[in-house]
């Protein structure tokens, strides 16, 4: 057991920071505050990711057969940690390289891989994730968007909501249900994954104004949209297995605590400059927020370590997500209480606030993580258990 970085890992982090310092434009901070789904950041992500690709830093963790370098899991994670701390200049594309690409490699046909992987690894693809619906959020299996089998494919009708990046996406990783009256199986087995061209006739995207910044959440309406069989990922009945694999990759990908940690550094610098740091109560609260960040960091590292060792995913993912929610909110509470002016005059602090208030909601409600800890870590009985 050890908690240090190897020489190679340290060198990798230095290189990532050097590349970020070289590539990011002078107005990056102003751009970054709009969030990964904003017009500005999405547009910039095309330029940045293409440059990152040329540096060999967009998909080094991918297998060589798919254009990567078979880099160690920790290298991918260090890259993600530095990107998230910098405000995620990959914009929506972090999602492509973290889980959409790996899912396509594992479950996609050779035609799907040939079509979708090159744009991802070259930094010129934007995807969105068509999971949540008005009546199916955390309870994803309750989704009702219909995929009616027709000759050559499916006709999709329904609505998705809270969809990040939909306004700019080329392709949607869409979950829909083959209705029982059209021959679909019940429950999770009736779900299909359709790689849906967002330019297809019948798709309408509407941005939802929100507290968390622009471009992050949308409604997406599907009105009799045709999706060919060739664009179905996996077999009918296999979707839940694929989704679980995708979510495992998704949840490891984001080092949210690192942004919170660096916000704390920024806040302390300001408090010192304003002569307010000498107050012991301010120091104490900053220290408590720091502890939350570092606890979350270690739990996330534990997941990455498990992945690096080839262990099957376990309940640590849920434990870590809960810790990350506490860290983001702990830092946000500190900032809001001791630096309220920052919510009025510091766009970076505003951006952090916007990420923090969504921390327990985005990618599945935190309460679902608590359920998972109870069931998978503590082995507690199902809520439906009867003697």
């Amino acid at each position: 057991m050890e908690f240090g970085w190897s020489i190679q890992e340290q060198a990798h982090r230095v290189r990532v920071r050097e590349v970020l310092a070289r590539l990011l434009p002078p107005d990056w901070e102003a751009m970054s505050v709009h969030g990964p789904g904003s017009d500005q950041q999405t547009a910039y992500s095309h330029r940045f990711c293409a440059e990152l690709h040329r540096e060999g830093l967009l998909v080094p963790h991918w297998p060589r057969a798919h254009g990567g370098e078979d880099a160690e899991v920790w290298q991918q994670f260090i890259l993600g940690e530095e990107m998230w701390a910098a405000g995620e200049p990959r914009g929506p594309q972090y999602m492509n390289v973290n889980w959409i690409g790996p899912v396509l490699m594992r479950f996609g046909t050779s035609d799907q891989q040939a079509r979708y992987l090159p744009p991802i690894r070259e930094g010129r693809a934007i995807w969105c994730q068509g999971f949540s619906e008005p009546s199916a959020g955390s309870d994803l299996a309750a989704l009702r968007t219909r995929a009616v089998p027709v000759e050559g494919g499916y006709r999709v009708s329904g609505a998705k909501v809270w969809t990040s990046y939909a306004g700019h996406a080329d392709t949607c990783f869409l979950l829909a249900r083959v209705p029982a009256d059209e021959g679909g199986a019940g429950g999770k087995a009736g779900i299909v994954i359709l790689l849906t061209d967002m330019a297809s006739p019948g798709i309408q995207v509407k941005q939802i104004p929100a507290l968390i910044g622009e471009g992050d959440i949308h409604e997406v309406f599907f009105d009799d949209v045709f999706v060919a069989h060739a664009d179905r990922l996996g077999e009918e009945g296999q979707a839940w297995e694929i989704i679980n694999y995708a979510l495992q990759n998704e949840r490891v990908g984001i080092a949210r605590y690192e942004f919170s940690r660096r916000m704390l550094d920024r806040a302390v610098a300001r408090l010192k400059a304003e002569g307010r740091w000498c107050d012991p109560s301010v120091q104490e609260r900053a220290g408590r927020a720091l502890m939350l960040c570092e606890a979350a960091r270690l739990l996330v590292y534990r997941i990455v370590d498990g992945k690096a060792r080839g262990l099957p995913p376990d309940a640590y993912g849920a434990v870590a997500r809960w810790a990350v929610v506490l860290a983001d909110n702990g830092v946000n509470e500190f900032l809001t209480e001791f630096l309220p002016a920052g919510l009025l005059d510091d766009p970076v602090q505003v951006a952090h606030h916007q990420r923090a208030i969504a921390a327990g909601i985005a990618s599945g409600a935190a309460e679902i993580q608590l359920n998972l800890i109870a069931r998978r870590r503590l082995d507690l009985p199902s809520e439906r258990a009867r003697p």
Binding site: M1, E2, F3, G4, W5, E9, W74, D265, V268, K272, W277, C278, P280, Q283, E284, R285, A286, G287, R288, L290, M291, L292, E294, A295, A296, L298, L299, Y301, R302, V304, D305, G306, R309, Y316, A318, V319, W322, A323, L326, E367, Q369, L370, N371, I373, A374, R375, R377, L378, D379, L380, P381, S382, E383, R384, A385, R386, P387
Partner: protein, 307 residues
């Protein structure tokens, strides 16, 4: 970054497990204060594990792993100060148990009724005081540990320790490891309880309100453990303050919830929950408590902060 135990670490912990396996709990002779486990103490002393941090090829992390594992058990022995603190402040091996106190050297200190040495942190320096058992007055304790106080320092051999930062750093690591183990032990007991105990036709553990709070307790125990182990590995002032402060900050909620879910049973001495929670409640205020550790963590992270 490797979170797996080495073969050596696994061997040591297996041997500790073997010592604990089947070890009978001594009967209580007084309320709340748990009997000191002489059998376990002797086994540990005989094994040399309490000096593991002094051995070539081993270190503070190995000691912290052992302390955390011991604290998961209901048996009470002094291990943290002996294994983690003593090697760093020049105390000779075998001079133990070691009691620690902050401030007044004649203030109450846990383990003092059995200790051979008392280390008192006086702020700008510390004292290592050889203890004459005849000079120790027992202190009535609400905690699971036995407490005592020296009548005075008169005539006792005393050595000055100038490196108080090292003392405090290791003390924080020891406290963090002990809290992490106590949390895990208490949680494990309660998880079994809520699986077995039924209400309204269901196991208690099937109610989501209970599941969520136990899940939160699990995160507290896990986070405390990894922060403690990292601090033991790095031997860094900031990491140690974070580890102790985080662990202390989670004691109140965890103890409340675990007692709440064990109901009136948890208020009895017959039910063993207090063997962990009344250690935790003693540890919550060590070294000034979570607030003091948080300020120390801030001072280390943002250096010109006054501690």
């Amino acid at each position: 970054m490797k979170f797996a135990l080495t073969d050596d670490q696994a061997s040591v912990l297996n041997e500790v497990e073997r010592m604990l396996d089947g070890l009978a709990l001594p009967a209580h002779t007084e309320p709340v204060v748990a009997p000191y486990s002489d059998t376990l103490d002797a086994a540990l002393a005989g094994s040399g594990f309490l000096d593991i941090a002094r051995e070539d090829g081993f270190g503070t992390l190995d000691a912290a792993l052992m302390v955390e594992r011991l604290a998961r058990s209901p048996h009470i022995v002094e291990a943290g100060a002996s294994a983690i603190v003593a090697p760093a402040i020049g105390l000779e091996a075998g001079l133990r148990p070691v009691a620690l106190v902050a401030g007044d050297p004649t203030g109450p200190a846990r383990f003092l009724p059995r200790a051979q040495v008392l280390v008192a942190d006086l702020g700008d320096h510390a004292l290592a005081i050889e203890v004459d058992p005849a000079r120790v007055q027992p202190v009535d304790s609400l905690f699971a540990y036995g407490y005592g106080r020296l009548d005075s320092l008169d005539g006792l051999p005393v050595r000055r320790i100038d490196d108080v930062a090292t003392l405090r750093r290791r003390w924080r690591v020891a406290v963090a490891a002990e809290i992490a183990g106590c949390m895990a032990g208490a949680l494990s007991l309660l998880v079994e309880h809520v699986k077995a105990r039924h209400a309204f036709g269901r196991p208690l553990g099937a109610f989501q309100s209970i599941q969520h709070r136990l899940a939160m307790a699990a995160e507290s125990a896990e986070s405390s453990r990894w922060l403690a182990l990292r601090a033991a590995w790095s031997d860094d002032d900031g990491d140690a303050a974070q580890a102790a402060g985080f662990a202390q900050s989670r004691i109140h909620a965890l103890s409340y919830d675990l007692h709440q879910f064990s109901g009136a049973m948890g208020l009895t001495l017959e039910y063993p929950l207090h063997l962990w929670t009344y250690r935790l409640r003693a540890l919550v205020g060590e070294l000034g408590g979570a607030g003091a550790q948080a300020r120390a963590a801030a001072a280390a992270a943002w250096p010109d902060a006054a501690e």
